[in-house]
């Protein structure tokens, strides 16, 4: 089984074709690089894969499964529940004064005990006499709005980044997006959120379960920070971190969710040669943990040094794919990359 398969993915933004019919497959445990000149559509491809801007065409499979959440029986039940809840809610709201009058006001005499039984019976009778205009119409209209809204929400959420992240895909961003006001360890802990189980009430009441989980994940987060070499700064604010370290923190945060697949968007951008050397070692160690790595990079030394296979894009289209040696000697790639080396 492939770790990820991209089938004919295309992305268009208001008529502009950013990515056109790109397909490739990534083997588990591989370091796979996507390269191409600026504007080739590499980041757009990443965004399509991670659900930030869903692909206009094609689809992506992870571990042989469709990445978009399928329509299940549970979804149908949820739509039905939304229909009923909103429908009944609207119908009740529209008639609230009438129902209140029938059940409470007609039955309650000041300083007398309240006859609950007859009040409920009256309420039932009042509901039964609501009729079409007062009862059924608001029920159906409200229900349709409710189901429509639930449907809209569901279809937005079925391919949203959080859903995809939870299926085991983590990523870093080209323009580093850390949570600057949180400490390093907290940044890593955010990445672990999907694995945590303690809920609202155990946090509110500080139940033992919450404490146990907190200790466990905290220790793990510290280990991850050690792994990327940032353990001694664990309690500093992420915003105060020097640039080179920020990349490392982002990788640690991405690894925190124990993803099967990690997407690195230009991890070496702005690094000096020593830092790049360290980064290469880090990426290899990530792979050695069993995580498949896909990276976008301009830094040819890094790409050629660590990639198992390379996929080359230009103007949103695939122009080549193969081992580093094959790409290095591919004339179309050399042509596409003339001048890019000067920039990068």
């Amino acid at each position: 089984m492939k770790a990820m398969e991209v089938h004919g993915v295309g992305v268009t933004f208001g008529g502009i074709i950013a990515v056109h019919d790109v397909s490739f497959a990534v083997e588990p445990g591989e370091i796979f690089a996507v390269i191409g000149p600026n504007g080739a559509g590499k980041t757009t491809l990443f965004n399509a894969v991670t659900g930030i801007h869903p692909p206009t065409h094609g689809h992506v499979e992870l571990d042989g499964r469709e990445q978009v959440a399928p329509m299940t029986r549970q979804t149908m039940v949820e739509l039905l529940v939304a229909f009923l809840l909103v429908g009944v809610g609207v119908a009740a709201t529209v008639n609230v004064e009438r129902l209140w009058q029938a059940s409470v006001i007609d039955n309650y005499i000041y300083e007398q005990p309240f006859p609950w039984g007859s009040a409920l019976a009256d309420l039932g009778r009042a509901v039964a006499t609501l009729g079409w205009l007062g009862g059924a119409l608001p029920l159906v209209c409200g229900g349709l709005v409710g189901a429509g809204a639930a449907w809209t929400n569901w279809s937005r959420a079925r391919r949203s980044p959080d859903h995809i992240a939870r299926t085991g895909v983590a990523r870093t961003f080209q323009n580093i997006r850390l949570f600057n006001e949180l400490s390093l360890v907290q940044n890593v802990l955010v990445g672990m959120d999907a694995r945590m189980r303690a809920g609202f009430f155990s946090a509110l009441l500080r139940l033992p379960r919450f404490r146990r989980e907190r200790e466990r994940f905290h220790a793990e987060a510290m280990k991850l920070l050690e792994f990327v070499g940032l353990a001694d700064r664990a309690l500093e604010a992420a915003g105060a971190l020097p640039y080179g370290f920020r990349r490392r923190l982002e990788i640690a945060r991405a690894l925190a969710g124990t993803p099967k697949l990690i997407l690195l968007d230009e991890p070496a951008a702005g690094m000096n040669p020593t830092e790049v050397g360290g980064l290469m070692a880090l990426i290899r160690r990530v792979r050695d943990r069993g995580t498949t790595v896909i990276l976008i990079e301009h830094h040819m030394k890094l790409v050629m040094g660590i990639s198992d296979r390379i996929h080359v894009l230009q103007y949103g289209r695939t122009i080549a794919e193969g081992s580093p040696d094959a790409i290095r000697s591919n004339p179309r790639c050399i042509e596409a990359y003339l001048g890019v080396e000067e920039n990068g």
Binding site: A119, R177, F179, A237
Partner: protein, 338 residues
């Protein structure tokens, strides 16, 4: 390391001795009653802080949830309705009712971008007043619901004259709210909220279920605000009228958290002390003093001290954010194990 009291503990401890200070102050200077208002607004602002401070969702209609809490408390406990639950059960029920109201408003709207949500909440704040007025067979419209029960610990029910009892009850409930807010803040949920506030897309890409986290923040904030509403109705023994929960209350709550320092519990406490203190202590006492000494007159609009209150309040806001845009006590980075 030696334990040192943080700002929250310090503030609450000082608040606990205010009634004792009152014993030595002359009667007209007594502070505890005004400080009670500070407590109520502090609870309300803590609720708003969960939504706006933690999760970054601007809410301009928090007063609506306060109104819902107050009216729910009124209907559940007043003797002119059949339910007559008594103080504690009714107050406890305001929390789930507030959360439900938060859910009903939040479910369709939480996907909205920043200020779109702000306008929806603002509108909600307006129409809740309208609805409370219009459904007058249920809510008694503009009459308000009264009298409402107060707690009775050992013996007769308190009245609003039992100042010290009320004072310490409110302080205790405020402390509970503070603990709840702190517990949530320093949990997985709080972290998720902060990450959403900082960068929604990045936290989404890390697998945070943004809608769900926002929903919880919204419902929690609404529940706390409703709790504040029920409590304030009990203190006054009346829900007042729907207009008492208008936009201006929401604005005051917002000013409290921003002037105090958004996102931190200590900031909210200081903010409510400063903003409500300015209103119900400093301005009130100052105008009373001026009136007693014959300063100002009623004949000319500009010579009457009361007519300057809006201006002073507004200037205080502008100057406060100008001097400290991050608030008086901005939250510090959580350094401990979180």
């Amino acid at each position: 390391m030696r334990w040192r009291p943080g700002p929250i503990v310090t503030i609450l401890a000082i608040a606990a001795v205010v009634p004792l200070v009152d014993l030595v102050l002359p009667a007209e200077l007594a502070l505890s009653e005004a400080v009670r208002t500070v407590f109520l607004y502090a609870i309300l602002a803590l609720g708003l802080n969960v939504m706006t401070g933690y999760a970054g969702m601007l809410n301009l209609g928090i007063a609506a949830f306060m109104a819902i809490g107050a009216y729910a408390f009124g209907i559940l406990s007043c003797e002119i309705y059949p339910f007559q639950l008594g103080f504690w059960p009714a107050l406890a029920l305001t929390i789930p009712i507030g959360a439900l109201a938060g859910f009903i408003l939040g479910a369709p709207t939480l996907g909205l971008r920043g200020d779109y949500l702000a306008i929806v909440t603002l509108g909600f704040g307006e129409i809740v007043q309208d609805i409370l007025k219009n459904l007058d067979s249920i809510t008694k419209g503009m009459q308000g619901i009264n009298p409402l029960p107060a707690p009775s610990i050992g013996g007769a029910m308190w009245t609003s004259n039992d100042e010290r009892s009320w004072y310490y009850l409110l302080l205790a409930l405020l402390t509970l709210t503070v603990i709840a807010a702190r517990n949530l803040e320093r949990s997985r949920l709080g972290r998720a909220w902060f990450s959403i506030r900082e960068d929604e897309l990045a936290s989404r890409s890390m697998g945070i279920r943004v809608e769900r986290a926002k929903m919880i923040a919204f419902a929690t904030g609404a529940a706390i605000a409703a709790f504040a509403g029920g409590l304030s109705a009990s203190v006054l023994s009346s829900t007042g009228e729907p207009n008492n929960y208008d936009f201006q209350v929401s604005i005051l709550a917002l000013c409290i958290i921003i002037v105090g320092g958004i996102g931190g519990v200590a900031g909210v406490l200081v903010g409510s002390l400063v903003m409500v203190g300015l209103n119900s202590i400093v301005l009130a006492k100052a105008t009373a003093w001026m009136a007693a000494h014959g300063i100002g007159s009623q004949g000319n609009v500009m010579l009457s001290p009361n007519n300057w209150k809006f201006l002073i309040f507004g200037l205080a806001l502008v100057i406060a954010v100008r001097i400290k845009p991050t608030g008086i006590l901005p939250p510090k980075l959580e350094r401990g194990r979180v």
